[in-house]
Symmetry: C2
């Protein structure tokens, strides 16, 4: 895909012209979601060209049996894959008995697709000439309702500009679907009932093995000149049901089919009540009608944007980028259900599987903390607390004991479900991100209560893990951590990854600090937790010994911490000296070549500098940034945002801006040539950070918000809002000044460019 494929627009993603080569990419980019379900932007009508069909239900997954040539002890039995759910959007369209299919039309003109992010809907308009020479004009609008999150709505409007003909619509449900991404050749849906009632139909199906019960449903109605045309049941098979609506129409007349559809699932309803719940949802949708439900949709999105919008003036592409990121994050996770989490591809694809990675703690929590109520972030923390026992079991599998906890690299339900040894067994820094998020949550919200109630137990399990995972090197006379994979997954099984060692040390110190604080301030919780975990002072001393004597690889020559032992033995050719045809290296190079190269997939040492910036001087940051960035290929979506933030801090606004574009338009401009597989959802929170924490340099320092805003020269102004301790603070930055406004009852002290200022309700504060 080229960079100009998507039209620049402040509020919409727009594609003009129909190009079969772009269908799969656009199916990703125009995806819809409402937190409870989501789907790729597949066409409603039959399409026989290349397509990647996907409709997903939050929390519904399938366990792919782990299949490897050589089993290694400790492998999880399965990999939980995001699962393509029964299709409810399908509407076959026939004109004089000939099926309409964009892949076979002799001409397609005026094709335009719009994803309206402001209002939360997707629309296609075009004219097409069928092989039988009849031309049709089509306008199809679709959205997944935020108001009724089990329901989606489609309005399919068809006109015949040049001829009379009989038009038939065949809306259907289909549970005979497959997955794009593995599931090998397993059948994974078991359809138990196909039924119909009036203009409604239902397919009840449950997932094999995991036994999630679902009911896919639909209701269809056809309008012809304000008259409702009756449909009839067409086909009812084992896993398919369709209705048929036919009408002869004259040139210039139009027909409008409205289809409501969606899923009810056993996560939310008694499993015997799925059909009746579906009927209720359809009743509610019917009362509002397509237009009424769409109005509700606009309002619901307006409410989301009211709090989370970032406005950029003077740079449409940058504006479009950030809104795309915020929109997709909100389509994926709204913080309403503590059993859910934020899958790396959201509802836009299947790759990676699982719903929860360290991305949630490292990237997403800051976004949700600032743009929603703090309860949303607390829900995400609680999710990990709920999985603590499973993290302990996971660590036991790998040979750890005494309550040491290793959180899974990938999970749906707390169990590890990733099966590459170098990741599952070795990418243990994830444990650190979870501890960091506890710290970050408290730092931002001031709500300490999570720690005595739940967090302390998590911190103890994590400290125990690090204590056991390190070993004393008689050679170095220090504790070392051998055989790990850092955030830079282009290195596997390395020794003394600086980031991991640093996190390990930090986690132990943080746990000990919180033990002290809880002991003092929450003696009952302390007693409960110490009793439950059998923690003794001797054990804490043993932890401390490891933290105090941790080894950190360092180069005297370059005066930088080394990403890992031996990093300087590599052939240190900078990325800029690589031939462009070699990139992305993960598509061009064999794995061994990547591993022995110096190339960094995503910030690793710099990720540590990002988390713990207070512990390093700006000069140190600059030295490390200048050493590592030239070797960084940013082939992880999580990389550019951290670099953007750090470049901004170093006052390198051009570089920060380039990284900003790369993170915000990663998918829109398909930097890594993989958008067909789906969007990179979790890194989208990093895009938000790159504006707020990067350009805005927002920090929390000693319970105060601090800002040191900069602006890229390409922009006239930008503004964002954050929810900080029950105040909504709006920040607007232009080249000349920064203005702050707040809503809330009481004023607040903030730091601006190093100086303390008082911000009062309804009283604009301007700093020149």
């Amino acid at each position: 895909m080229n960079q100009d494929y998507i039209q620049a627009d402040e509020w919409s993603i727009i594609e003009e012209g129909f190009d079969k080569q772009h269908v799969k990419a656009s199916e990703s980019l125009f995806s819809l979601g409402n937190g409870a379900m989501g789907q790729r932007a597949n066409f409603e009508e039959t399409y026989t060209g290349e397509t990647f069909q996907g409709s997903y239900i939050a929390g519904v997954y399938y366990p792919d049996k782990t299949r490897v040539g050589w089993w290694k002890n400790g492998y999880p039995e399965y990999f939980a894959k995001v699962l393509n759910a029964p299709n409810w959007i399908g509407i076959k369209v026939f004109v004089n008995g000939h099926e309409f299919d964009l892949a076979t039309c002799t001409k397609v003109s005026g094709y335009k697709r719009e994803l309206n992010m402001k209002e939360g809907w997707h629309k296609r308009t075009f004219s097409a000439v069928l092989p039988n020479t009849i031309e049709i004009k089509v306008e199809v609008t679709r959205f997944l309702s935020l108001k009724l999150d089990e329901v989606g709505a489609i309005e399919f409007k068809l006109t015949l500009p040049n001829s009379d003909a009989e038009v038939s619509f065949v809306p259907y449900l289909d549970s005979g679907i497959t997955n794009e991404d593995s599931n090998w050749d397993d059948k994974f849906w078991n359809t138990t009932n196909v039924s119909t009632s009036g203009n409604r139909a239902f397919i009840e199906a449950h997932t094999m093995k995991t036994n999630f019960k679902t009911c896919a449903f639909m209701q269809a109605s056809l309008d012809y000149n304000g008259k409702s045309i009756q449909g009839k049941l067409e086909e009812s098979q084992e896993n398919f049901i369709s209705m048929k609506f036919s009408q002869k129409i004259k040139r210039g007349e139009d027909l409008t089919l409205v289809k409501f559809g969606g899923y009810t699932v056993s996560r939310n309803h008694d499993e015997g009540e799925l059909v009746s719940a579906a009927n209720q949802a359809l009743d509610q949708a019917s009362i509002l009608g397509f237009k009424g439900l769409l109005e509700e949709q606009k309002q619901a999105w307006a409410n989301i944007w009211e709090m989370s919008d970032i406005v950029i003036e003077g740079d449409i592409k940058a504006q479009q980028g950030i809104r795309f990121n915020i929109f997709q994050l909100n389509q994926t996770y709204l913080g309403t259900d503590s059993r859910l989490n934020i899958g790396p591809k959201g509802f836009t694809g299947e790759k990676y599987g699982g719903s929860t990675y360290w991305d949630t703690e490292a990237y997403c929590i800051p976004f949700y903390m600032a743009t929603k109520d703090e309860k949303v972030a607390r829900k995400l923390l609680k999710y990990r607390y709920n999985h603590l026992e499973k993290a302990i079991v996971n660590a036991q599998k790998l040979g750890f004991s005494n309550g040491a906890a290793l959180y899974p690299m990938v999970t749906m339900n707390g169990e590890e479900c990733h099966n590459e040894w170098e990741i599952t067994f070795e990418e243990i820094h994830r444990n650190g991100a979870i501890a960091f998020a506890i710290y970050n949550y408290y730092r931002y919200t001031g709500d300490y209560s999570y720690i005595p109630e739940m967090g302390l137990e998590v911190l103890i399990g994590i400290a125990r893990f690090w204590h056991q995972r390190a070993n004393f090197s008689g050679h170095k006379k220090k504790y070392v951590i051998l055989g790990v994979t850092g955030p830079n997954e282009y290195e596997n099984n390395v020794n003394n990854n600086w980031y991991t060692n640093y996190l390990a040390q930090w986690c132990i110190n943080f746990a000990i600090e919180q033990l002290g604080r809880v002991k003092e301030g929450y003696p009952n919780d302390y007693k409960r937790v110490v009793g439950k975990t059998n923690l003794t002072p001797t054990e804490c001393e043993a932890w401390k010994k490891v933290a105090d004597n941790m080894y950190f690889p360092y180069s005297d020559e370059y005066k930088v911490f080394l990403q890992q032992d031996g990093f300087l033995d590599k052939d240190l050719v900078k990325v800029s000296d690589l031939n462009k045809t070699e990139r992305p290296i993960n598509q061009k190079w064999s794995w061994d070549r990547i591993l022995r190269s110096p190339y960094i997939k995503q910030a690793d040492v710099l990720q540590g500098f990002y988390f713990f910036e207070d512990n390093f001087s700006t000069e140190e940051l600059e030295k490390h940034f200048d050493f590592y960035e030239p070797f960084t290929v940013h082939e992880s979506s999580l990389s550019p945002c951290v670099h953007s933030i750090q470049a901004a801090k170093l006052g390198r606004m051009d570089q920060a801006y380039q990284f900003y574009l790369r993170t915000s338009r990663l998918d829109l401009d398909d930097y890594n040539k993989e958008v067909e597989e789906g969007l990179h959802i979790t890194s989208m929170a990093g895009t938000w950070m790159s504006i707020v924490e990067g350009f805005g340099e927002m920090r929390v320092i000693n319970d105060q918000l601090s800002f040191n805003p900069r602006i890229p020269e390409q922009w006239n102004a930008y503004s964002f809002k954050v929810n900080f301790r029950n105040r909504i603070i709006k920040v607007k930055v232009s080249a000349d000044e920064v203005t702050f406004e707040m809503t809330g009852e009481k004023g607040i002290l903030i730091m601006v460019k190093g100086k303390q200022r008082e911000l009062l309700p309804n009283n604009k504060l301007t700093v020149g």
Copy 2:
């Protein structure tokens, strides 16, 4: 399995008593093979207990599609798996209509199983009481003919000691078989024809994907009191055919069913001629009859033993061990077909897949060179020459160029077919073993011709690989080799594995040396090879620069070369201090724990000392042996033999003896608790080396054989023969003296304990 399960016997493997728990282990241990086919010692009659059914045809394999969670560039598309072939041994037995099955008999007594290694046959004798209370006495003899290597023979003798009854034999062929080891759920045999002719039957089937055509065949005849009983076709299905022979017999009478069976394959016959070839093979077998064919078998094995036997006096278990190893090697590979190689499990199991590993060059060639004609070793070298182009393509896949060759880690046909990245992409030392074998072959046989004819090209491809694979470390100011897996596969993706670096240096130097020698002595070959490879002096200089400046990790503290960078950072707890319940660690520990431990799967640095012992003093060997052996768990079958040889060299005969038992009785005593999966064939050549090169300390020094024999105190004497440059030299070692005898036309100078001696034909040389 316990150590005393197999009866000690000089010439036979004997199991007494029927134990269902041991069936799978015994199926491995009693396996039969004749180089062209082989099979686990499955019962002929139906057995419903736990069993691992396996019958294998040399060179017939199936490509399992590579299935990994995350595809890495360079992965081979498939893993060639050893394939269970149609069953031809099956004979159902019914007594008064009740099927005989050892799993359901109410009593089994006098059960004895013997694998007679001297004569090459397998026999079971026992009495069993069927659920219908009838007792039967059974004696079943089976062998795979060396004389007619497409044919196997079974004699099934049944007597009724206590009652009259009707006995039916139902010999059958069955191509509806599955694989024990993956092939996922693929169907992999396609049966095309099932036919019968008189007392013969045929199933023609070909492998899916690889399209190897085979005909499994059988012929059966029943003898009752010297009278031949006619059978009739019983069942003929899509992939099954059986005949039925029934006879009422009286108490004390016996019935003998003789079944010939086997395979004809398209590797050896026109694919339209497989049935007629089968008929010819059966004709030949019929002429000889079971007894005649068995006599031929005894003679053929006598010929093999004549040259390859090692006699150990005074230690039956040691004797049995070495013969078991020599027997199995000869069952697996006889050196008659240069398209075949020596699979790690031979015909005894499916694990590992592929037929060719570096085991062939590092372990098997010395055995075959000394116990067969030198042409056999040359065939094995030629096998690799034939695959040079594929090795170049393999290297290209991984990003190498200019004719660099990387031989596959595992192959059936020259293509890489292993798909763990840490092995396939990184265990590159295999390239060195192939170069070493060229050197070793020439050193032993004195036949230089392979090098100008073929070997030089191989050496150039390998040198090019090492040159490109190393990189200059600006930090170390040396060439380093990053991201490798050494012979010790309990380390992955390490930097500067000493063994690999040493081999790389040696390969380059050896290639350059041979280039000089060929240029001088074989100018036409030189011209041809240089022309074909576009080799220039500048390129050789570049190689040389890498070799001359290779980095070797070394510890000043311990005065040893380090297995790899960072080895000393490990928690250096010796194996002897590990709790026994933790072992074998590959069954008890997670992979990450193994990787970060100091434990060594098999000799790594010591493997280098073994290959290149002339380059190190005995003191250096001792220092390295004492440093590394205490961390070695020997969980690779290839480990104890090298240690035995080196312990003997260091005069530590007790330790050498223990390692000898471990290598020679690895499977018989099931040291690694995995014999059910099949035998460790390639390491059996290491057992041979541990006597000849270890206790006998046989070397070739400047074109002379040299001996420095020692004897374990548990032995009275041992003797072996080697074929050295057209002389057969027999060596017998006792505590007091060593005697040498030779056959051949001309005498030869040998070194004994450092002194030169002349050995003349038919003239015993005794050294006190």
